[in-house]
Amino acid sequence: MTLTGLAFRNLARNRFRVALTAVGVAVAIVAFMLLRTVLNAWGSASEYAAKDRVVSRHKVTFVMSLPRRYYTDILAAPHVKEATFANWFGGKDPKHEHDFFATLAVEPNTYFHVYNEIQIPPDQLDTWKHDRQGAIVGSMLAKKLGYKVGDRITMQSGIFPGDWPVTVDGIYTSTTRTIDQSTLFFHWDYLNDGVKALRHEPTWDQVGWIVSRVDEPGHAADTGIAIDKLFDDRDTQTLSMDEHAFGASFLGMFSAIFTAIDIVSAVILVIMTLILGNTIAMGARERGGEYGVLRAIGFMPGHVALWVVAESLFMGLLGGLIGAAIAWPMVNQGIGPFLEANMGQFFPYFRLETSVLLTGILAAALLGAAAAVIPAWQASQLRVVDAVRRVA
């Protein structure tokens, strides 16, 4: 029997206690993996953004809009292959008062060219392009609120007064995880004409943001700078950046929450270490006599320390594996699909990544070993005479 084999065997001696500890570790690891997945899910949209798209917005704030004519200017800029624009409508369906979904008024002929990862059956897209009051809805949204092609929806907006009826012409799906499948798209012209009729002057001929696609990703940064220079002397200045930077800049608003989750996910590991340390210390204390005997027959203090540390490492690893076995199906079959379907605008992609899984298991094992450092040192420092005497 090897030395580590002995440590492994020791686990089986107080099965009940080891099982309890492993469950404790498993609970902690599940919590840890969940929290890390939340962080990843929020960050994922910006991380998987297209590298060849440049977003231009109002320099001071993204709630202020840009003049429509800027679009023509941007189209003429060097390296810009194609461009499109959109407005945040802030709409909801009064029949589903409490279901939030994004509503965007977009340029119908170009938007789905620039965002070519959004997939719409060609006949539906064609119908929509010719239907001024048409809408394209995401498959998740359609499923959740029961929208079908041909349905009439009367939208209301927190920004634009009045009723805005639209017809569902198509349903989109997406090939990438950055696209939330719960958005409703409709024609920008429809919005603009409606706004004109309302004499709602500040928002006439205005677009929320302009997205351009450059000929190759390497030109994205320079193109952004060039676009901003175009409007530097105009009434309204722009701020352009590639899609990744754009997404990341939004995350700044949530930085305090990210930090809090980060800290909390570390706290659960500390709690786990305390549980492990406590168990292993109890075991080492109870076995003082045995260690004395082993020392008496020639094993060195280092051997004793090794047994204690190895046993704790195995226990942590066991808990980590159980935790992983619970977290994996729980997130990927349960919570993940549920959040994607119901809170797609916050979590378009909520899955447990392999890297998080491995980090969790590894953390359980290593912190198990770390938790055993003090008990191991104490056990190895026992004087043989004292240790053996304890037996009696």
Binding site: V23, G158, P202
Partner: protein, 388 residues
């Protein structure tokens, strides 16, 4: 009954184990208390701006000041509605203001955030008596000067007294003072001259909101009827406290739910820790338990004694955790409030209710974690135990 002193001494004898378990529980209680304190702080900050005798008018359908637009011509009608209080010169007390948000860089974090910029008139401070300067001086009316809420100072780059920022290109605004407003959300805003703001943001002819002081809170219904009955105006009136409650509800709920879920997970972990400790305590004290039973203490007595020990252990951890969490009241936590699309700096509010809830939660963990081991202790046969 077995004296509680026995339990206290038992905990002290095995102090390493006691401390490890208590720290685990303390951390859980700390996390829970912090989340509840933050939710309380959000309610307090967003609620502090609301006065019962003040009404706010927005465009029908708008949930916040940012999305709302009110035509300039409607303001006179709003101020003429029934119930609006007049000042000593007979002028109705009201504030028509323009609100936008600007993207600014945070200190100590990557990315930008939205800061509310409020265009005010020179009587904004008389209208809100709780607002007072804590640094510098008030802005001169009609000038390119701004005052900033005290909570923004040190959180957002460029918002220190004496610095300037660009409202738009070539329109630098100088910050001449910082103000406090009884802990309300105003403390996370920048105030500039109303006309300057409307000009810079192309909002001529429109305001975002109109606030009015009412003769008394009971006049609200009459005022509302006056404002809302004219459908052409398309306006809605809300009591200010109601408005702020709507604004804070979602965020406070989000924090509470998040904190609750995390705490339950953590509690499960720490409870298992307490269980392990108590099982070990029972196992190593077989003889003691046997002796107690032989002395005539009942099974139930032993059971209660061990449950009490577990609760004591948890209460110790809970007290440490709750005490430590009060230190969070020195931390400022800035959050994006979706209702106003801007970032508001909140504080953790250690209300007695929060601390008691957290403490009870901690003791509950001890109670649940201690029951099974206590049952095992109670089932110990005295004869077998003493024999060893």
């Amino acid at each position: 009954m077995i004296p509680i002193r026995y339990n206290v001494r038992s905990l002290i004898v095995r102090k390493a184990t006691t401390i490890a378990t208590a720290i685990g529980i303390a951390l859980v209680v700390f996390v829970l208390a912090s989340a509840l304190m933050l939710a309380a702080g959000i309610k307090k900050t967003l609620g502090a701006g609301g006065r019962a005798d003040t009404a706010i008018v927005l465009r029908m359908g708008s949930d916040g000041e940012l999305g709302s637009t009110i035509e300039e011509s409607s303001v006179a009608l709003i101020l003429a509605a029934p119930g609006v209080k007049a000042d000593e010169h007979g002028k109705p007390l009201g504030a028509a203001e323009a609100v936008v948000v600007a993207a600014m860089s945070k200190i100590g974090a990557a990315g930008v955030t939205n800061v509310t910029i409020r265009g005010v008139t020179d009587d904004a401070m008389t209208f809100r008596p709780e607002v007072h300067m804590v640094a510098g001086r008030p802005a001169r009316p009609g000038s390119d000067e701004a005052v900033v809420g005290a909570r923004l100072v040190g959180h957002i780059k460029g918002l220190e007294v004496g610095q300037t920022f660009d409202l738009k290109k070539n329109r630098p605004v100088t910050i001449v003072g910082a103000f406090e407003a009884a802990g309300s959300a105003y403390e996370s805003e920048v105030w500039v001259d109303r006309e300057l703001l409307r000009q810079a943001y192309n909002r001529q002819g429109f305001f975002s909101s109109v606030r009015v002081r009412l003769e008394s809170p009971t006049k609200f219904e009459a005022f509302r009827a006056g404002v809302e009955n004219d459908k052409r105006l398309g306006l809605q009136a809300l009591r200010e406290p109601t408005f702020y409650e709507n604004q804070s509800e979602q965020l406070a709920m989000f924090i509470k739910v998040m904190g609750g879920i995390v705490s339950v997970f953590f509690a499960a972990g720490a409870m298992i820790g307490a269980m392990i400790t108590m099982y070990a305590a029972v196992a190593s004290r077989q003889r003691e338990i046997g002796t107690l039973r032989a002395l005539g203490f009942s099974r139930f007595g032993v059971l209660t004694s061990f449950v009490i020990e577990a609760v004591l252990l948890a209460a110790l951890g809970g007290a440490v955790g709750a005490a430590a969490s009060t230190a969070m009241s020195f931390v400022h936590f800035s959050l994006m409030n979706q209702a106003s699309w801007s970032e508001i700096v909140f504080s953790f509010d250690p209300t007695p209710q929060v601390l008691v809830t957290a403490l009870i939660f901690g003791c509950g963990m001890g109670l649940i974690g201690g029951i099974l081991p206590a049952v095992q202790a109670a089932r110990t046969s005295p004869l077998k135990a003493i024999r060893g």
